[in-house]
């Protein structure tokens, strides 16, 4: 069972977002998605300063087995990307909710988001 971090919110496309209201929000992919992908070997992230749109693709995540698009759960400007995760994508597998975060956005508006329990129920994750 893949872990679902209870304090985060999720999109149907398996991104998590930490909406703390004050500064930019941090975004990553859920352990459910990371486990399904297998060993992640490459991640293509949006650039700092780029505008991402809720529900639209903004990058991709590639494993040995497959590749999947990275969707933004929110609309806004990218303020930071995780160079460490881009350099060593294995940390997305090992710590998807922590060191494996992907990018930060100054949120203008949110797309449809799920609570941790809603996401876990829909995707067979473990809270």
């Amino acid at each position: 069972m893949s872990k679902v971090a209870p304090e985060l919110q999720y999109s149907a496309e398996h991104e998590w977002i930490s909406l703390d209201g004050s500064g930019p929000s941090t975004i990553g992919v859920s352990a459910v998605a990371a486990d399904a992908l297998g060993d992640i070997v490459y991640v293509d992230l949006p650039e700092v300063g780029a505008t991402v749109t809720a529900g639209e693709t903004c990058g991709e995540i590639e494993s040995t087995k497959s590749v999947s698009d990275l969707y933004s759960p929110v609309t806004g400007e990218v303020t930071e990307v995780n160079a460490a995760a881009a350099g060593d994508p294995a940390i997305i597998n090992s710590d998807p909710y922590g060191a494996g975060w992907l990018f930060k956005v100054a949120v203008d508006s949110e797309g449809p988001l799920l609570t941790a329990s809603e996401y876990a129920a829909a995707n067979g994750g473990e809270l």
Partner: protein, 377 residues
Amino acid sequence: MTENHTALYGEHEKAGASFTDFGGWQMPLKYSSELAEHHAVRNAAGLFDLSHMGEVWVSGPDAAAFLDYALAGKLSAVAVGKAKYSLICNADGGIVDDLISYRRGDEKYLVVPNAGNAATVAALLAERAAGFDVQVQDVSSETSLIAVQGPNAEAILLTLVPEAQHMLVKELKYYAATEVGITVNGTVQDLLLARTGYTGEDGFEIYLPNADAPALWRALLENGQDQGLIPAGLAARDSLRLEAGMPLYGNELSQTGHPYAAGLGPVVSLAKESDFIGKAALAAIKESGDGTTSGRKLVGLKGVGRRAARGHYQVLKDGAAVGEVTSGQPSPTLGYPVALAYVDVEHASLGTMVDVDLRGKAEPFEVVALPFYKRQK
């Protein structure tokens, strides 16, 4: 579709494998990390369950002559104890399967088709046997197959072989097989041991009855632990065979393709005195130059960037489609994307730069020689 399970299914479950369907079989995709499994095979050893593959015995006075007729290669020329990679073709020259045949006696061969094609091949061999003095016996359902692959494979295997037979194992050549004593459940059994493999590494395959497979699997894992042996799933098997430039039936090979375009011309023995199924069609294809001087041929592609090409992606030259990828992924050993693709022969020379349409973006790839990876011998 019924779900077939090998005799080792319970062992895989215990090891925490995630499963995938392969040719109607529920097989381990990976146990832990497919990358770790891949690297284990390259650097130490990996243990594979290949029990889903077929085993068909062909025996009788006409065994050699029959296989010369049923398969594209010249199996009568194979020495007893040796193995040969061959193709079974249809009358149009299309590839029904690629398979390995072991000559186990003057009048006895073991033919090993791929899992997804095993029933088809067994039926086809039985059908083609009409008029030959041979028995075709499909023992796939009662036979298990365990492979130990990697630089430490020999040392690990020897832990289960009586000292007196160690030289037999050590001197076994690549693409050869022998009966050897292997300890299973405390007793030494004579089992068929082959040294072939599908990973680019040294390795062995052991054929044995289903009932003994779990015990041998456990013994190998236990004895191989200090040599870095871990169980490896189909994900690692696929990345290993791709690095080794080996085709996968269903990806690079099919009924609609033919051996010349797949680079398997040398496997087809048009020089055989006897007729064989597909011979006339294959001779005409060779004559036409399709897949060699015209049409498309299979090539290796190396990615310049980091994004990997995948099966069915289009190969482009100056924006025009000139080919299609059949297999591709990031190479765990080499650190760059590799792919196999059928490409128009005019763009198939080594060093040619092409693009692959990676979901709407053209990414540069170079045509390179196969295999991508070669072990240091």
